[in-house]
Subunit: 209 residues, 2 copies
């Protein structure tokens, strides 16, 4: 039950709590993780946690905010932007996957608790993110860039890939985030694009932007 790779260098206690808690939540669930286990992983005593966070819930709440706020901002920006919707979706996907791949927290547990009544106040921002993402997809289908697939299905598949990547990455930042991001975004676009030869143009435009 020792900490993973957090002890070296000068990482503040509050930050180490977030990192170790995120790993334990991913492995044992939010409710399945006791404050003692978190404290053990951080190598402090259990009550010392409460100097940094008022409750255990607030540790999870901060992880949720970290996950949702930046990502929602980028999705909303791309949703409001002009030009090819397929290109905007690609840009958003690459950004989100890079974020996931470089995040020092294991955000696996976030999706698992977001429907828990205990975190009801965090649902609004999650829904805003979903709306923004969905509007880009709708535009890509309506404009004819994507196959005439069920937009619900396309949205779901995209979310599932992102969620899967979060679980896979597990808060261990990888050096080749941009490669992973391109591979996954390419996988999604290949499944959805009407004309797969457009992929090259989209990637080129994303580079230059």
């Amino acid at each position: 039950m020792a900490n993973t790779a957090t002890k070296n260098e000068e990482v503040p206690t509050r930050e180490r709590i977030l990192r170790e808690a995120s790993r334990l939540f991913a492995r044992k669930g939010f409710h399945g993780t006791s404050t003692r286990e978190i404290a053990d992983a951080v190598e402090i005593r259990q009550p010392s946690l409460f100097h940094h966070f008022p409750t255990k819930r607030d540790i999870m709440a901060e992880l949720i905010d970290i996950d949702h706020s930046e990502v929602a901002a980028v999705a909303e920006r791309e949703a409001a932007a002009e030009g090819s919707a397929a290109l905007r979706l690609y840009r958003y996907l690459v950004w989100d996957i890079c974020f996931i791949c470089q995040c020092p927290y294991d955000l696996t547990s976030v999706e698992g608790v977001i429907d828990d009544p205990l975190f009801a106040d965090k649902m609004e921002r999650r829904d805003a993110l979903k709306r923004a993402r969905r509007s880009i997809i709708d535009e890509a289908v309506e404009s004819g860039e994507f196959l005439d697939v069920d937009a619900d299905l396309a949205e779901k598949a995209i979310v599932w890939v992102l969620q899967g990547d979060i679980v896979e990455t597990a808060g261990e930042p990888v050096p080749n985030a941009d490669v992973i991001a391109d591979q996954l975004a390419t996988f999604i676009l290949r499944a959805l694009l009407k004309d797969q030869d457009q992929l090259g143009a989209i990637k080129a435009a994303a580079q230059s932007g």
Copy 2:
């Protein structure tokens, strides 16, 4: 906190426990769900649960078994079969998605607890399922039916779509399971097939088989 749609007809108590528990586990996590909440949803008293299951853990363990045993059997059968690997993957995917879409339990929480030390004894079968699925994918890449993509990535994307479908379906059997199954399996194959025109032949062969 009333039960959802389980009270009508003659559903045995043990069965209702599995159904209601699966929904609560999905929403609040295994550890976040108390035996009192399960009992309330089933409309019995909390100690009555222990007439049907020796511990709360055993309820979850049975849901894990339900999820993994049948699916693993089908994946292993297709992995051992002859012929086009792309076709065998399509058959497996359609079967698995139909299973998910018709299952009366919300198996969302299974993936979330399978790495919990409390369910360590359930990991072996999960790993066997993963190996079988992986071997079909490897064959499809090696035979040249699939693009020369990272097989790790392909496997992950497939698992993520299946996992996403489990969360989406949430134990509410849908009438059009075969349509959903075809759509999702098509999404995956379109992203992976070297020649997308093969899709028609694969579907035709799957029908006749």
